[in-house]
């Protein structure tokens, strides 16, 4: 999820012949993720004989710049992994081939609706992931009850924004420094778009309509929490862990740490409802096949393999993310019917999530919005900042002739 600092500057996505076989690029995530993927590649080769697979890991921090550089040098691999929202720009530049005609129907139907939505653009499916992400509010049951609030059991029971603001005040009364909410302000970059654009969706608007009253209301509310002193700066990334705050607005990856610290006192709740129902985030690393990969049969076979239940579950165990297929979710300990993180899978299955804007303008939009959120969270006048952001996005759209 880190930095869309360098997004694509592909000017020609032809493929230069490398060693024979399939070239696969993946991001160098956590050790466990890497090990699982390496093992999966070997397993695939073992079970499906044919041209060899060459897996290369590129560091996550500058992964996207590597992809662009390779495209420029006409050395894109056959199979490419990338952070979901970048898909649309790659498609606009003509680098990827559609997959929906090449995958089995059963595979397609088994995919999470969120993954299908994320991976589709202009009528075709171009990418899919082996996992998706979950975003929500972790909380301390004891403290919330003490503050007199109800505990939402499902997305439709989510607190309204007003309820949430009131809850923060109630919690603050019992708290030593009045800071009761962790928004991961210490994170950098893409987090701000990922975490807060769902709030816009919850208010019925989105990144393309930043000048709407709804957007203004959402950002004013969030800014209010900060101005009242309810938000912890989280420099040590441990506000929730050490008990300084009662609520933490973050994703699935924090579950292991939080669960081992708070055990039964930990609860997972949907994000506040800003008017049109709660909305949460989605999207993570996706796989796609480049146009240079001809014939693409083996590449597609590989993707189908990655989507088998065993493979999906193995990866989910390694990185803690939400499995991408319904069948795998059903079998997952964390995300299944009685799993502690079923809120995440339910949100994705039932459509409570909003994908980040599916447009080739995404790199600019997210850069602008990250700036906006940062400014808002540090006291800048909301309407002014939103106006500037909207103007920049509009200008970029004009400059690129509407990204036709």
């Amino acid at each position: 999820m880190r930095t869309l600092l360098l997004a694509t500057f592909l000017t020609g996505c032809a493929h230069q012949a490398g060693p024979p076989g399939l070239q696969i690029w993946a991001h160098e995530g956590r050790e466990s993720e890497r090990q699982v993927l390496t093992a999966q590649v070997e397993r695939f080769q073992h079970e499906h004989s044919g041209p060899p697979l060459h897996l290369t890991f590129l560091p996550e921090g500058n992964y996207n710049s590597q992809v662009q550089a390779a495209a420029l040098a006409q050395k894109l691999p056959d199979v490419l992994e990338f952070d979901g929202p970048l898909l649309y720009r790659y498609v606009w530049q003509g680098c990827l081939q559609p997959l929906e005609t090449q995958l089995k129907q059963s595979t397609l139907d088994n995919l999470l609706p969120s993954i299908q939505k994320q991976g589709s653009f202009r009528g075709h499916l171009y990418s899919l992931g082996a996992f998706d992400s979950g975003l929500g509010l972790y909380g301390r049951k004891s403290l919330i009850r003490q503050a007199g609030a109800r505990l939402p059991k499902s997305p439709d029971e989510a607190w309204t924004a007003a309820e949430f603001t009131q809850l923060l005040e109630n919690l603050a009364r019992e708290d030593t420094d009045g800071q009761v909410l962790d928004l991961k302000l210490n994170y950098q970059g893409e987090w701000f778009t990922y975490a807060f654009s769902p709030a816009l969706a919850s208010a019925g608007t989105d990144l393309s309509h930043l000048e709407s009253p709804a957007a203004s209301q959402v950002l004013n509310t969030i800014q209010g929490w900060n101005e009242q002193g309810r938000v912890d700066a989280n420099v040590d990334d441990a506000a929730f862990l050490t008990g300084r705050v009662a609520l933490s607005w973050v994703g699935h990856w924090e579950y292991p740490r939080y669960a081992s610290r708070w055990g039964d006192d930990l609860c997972l709740l949907p994000l506040p409802n800003f008017g049109h129902g709660t909305r949460s985030g989605q999207g993570s690393w996706n796989w796609a096949v480049t146009t240079a990969c001809q014939p693409s049969g083996r590449a597609v076979e590989f993707l189908e393999f990655l989507l088998q239940d065993e493979q999906v579950l193995e990866m989910s165990d390694a990185n803690g993310a939400v499995p991408a297929t319904r069948s795998a979710i059903a079998r997952s300990k964390l995300y299944g019917a009685n799993g502690p993180l079923r809120l995440f899978s339910n949100q994705l299955l039932q459509g409570w999530t909003a994908p980040r804007p599916r447009t080739p303008a995404y790199p600019l939009m997210t850069s602008v919005f990250q700036q906006t959120m940062q400014d808002v969270l540090h006291g800048a006048p909301v309407d002014q900042v939103l106006g500037q952001a909207a103007a920049e996005i509009r200008q970029d759209d004009l400059d690129n002739q509407g990204y036709r």
């Binding site: 160098e28 050790e31 290369t56 560091p59 996550e60 500058n62 420029l72 040098a73």
Partner: protein, 249 residues
């Protein structure tokens, strides 16, 4: 009183450094170093950095001091223009030429090499200007003596000027080394795998995925600065008053 002031400043200076070294032992103690070494292929990255910086400094110091000397000592038409160009190059930041260079390097398929991390930085406006300044102030008597003995320009340079330029050479070496060692943007753009990647990029690995493990981050920082620190401590002796000033009598 002067000494007191210096001592106070030293304390201020020490704070961040102490944070770095002390912080590297936080949370997991020496285990931080172990974790860091496990997470990244430290030796390969270190070797790459050493090779890149070594050649950049070595070749760069030579050709830049030659150029600075020539500019300081030679009159030729266009000397002022050449100086102006050097100044201009000093001013043009690397970021300004990074993208066109990147295009060119990518198109030629020269990415992921060590040489492309060395060559663009060998000729350097700052260095040339620094040597130019140094040689302007350089007393001419020794060179005159050599010329009277019949030595040609190159010999005068290599046998007389260069050996007595230790402070400037050492300073230039240090400056070049530092900027080369901490180069970030360019290696980011032109390297892919760990074969050609320098050490400076590895900090991204620790800052990328949350949660931030400060102990490891600081441990990596220590590992990254220690080689250069040690090198500088060794080069210290060249900053002592040299024989030059007494040689003039």
């Amino acid at each position: 009183m002067r000494d007191g002031l210096v001592a106070a400043l030293a304390c201020v200076y020490l704070l961040p450094i102490a944070t770095l070294f002390g912080g590297s032992l936080a949370q997991d103690g020496l285990g931080n170093y172990g974790s860091v070494l496990q997470r990244i292929d430290f030796l390969t990255l270190l070797c790459n950095s050493l090779v890149i910086s070594g050649f950049t400094v070595g070749i760069g110091t030579l050709i830049n001091s030659m150029a600075g000397y020539a500019l300081a000592r030679t009159t030729f038409p266009g000397r002022q223009a050449a100086l102006a160009v050097v100044l201009l190059c000093m001013v043009i930041p690397f970021e300004a030429v990074a993208v066109p260079l990147f295009y060119a390097v990518s198109r030629e398929g020269l990415r992921d090499t060590l040489s492309m991390q060395i060559l663009p930085f060998v000729a350097n406006g700052f260095s040339i200007y620094m040597f130019y300044t140094f040689y302007l102030d350089f007393p001419r008597e020794l060179e005159e003596a050599a010329r009277l003995d019949g030595a040609g320009p190159w010999q005068i340079y290599s046998r007389v000027a260069l050996p007595n330029s230790k402070p400037a050479l050492a300073t230039n070496a240090v400056i070049t080394l530092l900027s080369s060692w901490s180069a970030y943007l360019w290696p980011l753009l032109v390297t892919a795998g760990p074969q050609a990647r320098p050490l400076s990029l590895a900090i991204a690995t620790f800052l990328a995925t949350p949660p931030l493990h400060w102990g490891q981050i600081f441990a990596f920082g220590v590992l990254m600065v220690t080689p250069v620190l040690l090198l500088f401590l060794r080069l210290q002796r060249h900053f002592q008053p040299n024989a030059l000033t007494s040689g003039i009598k």
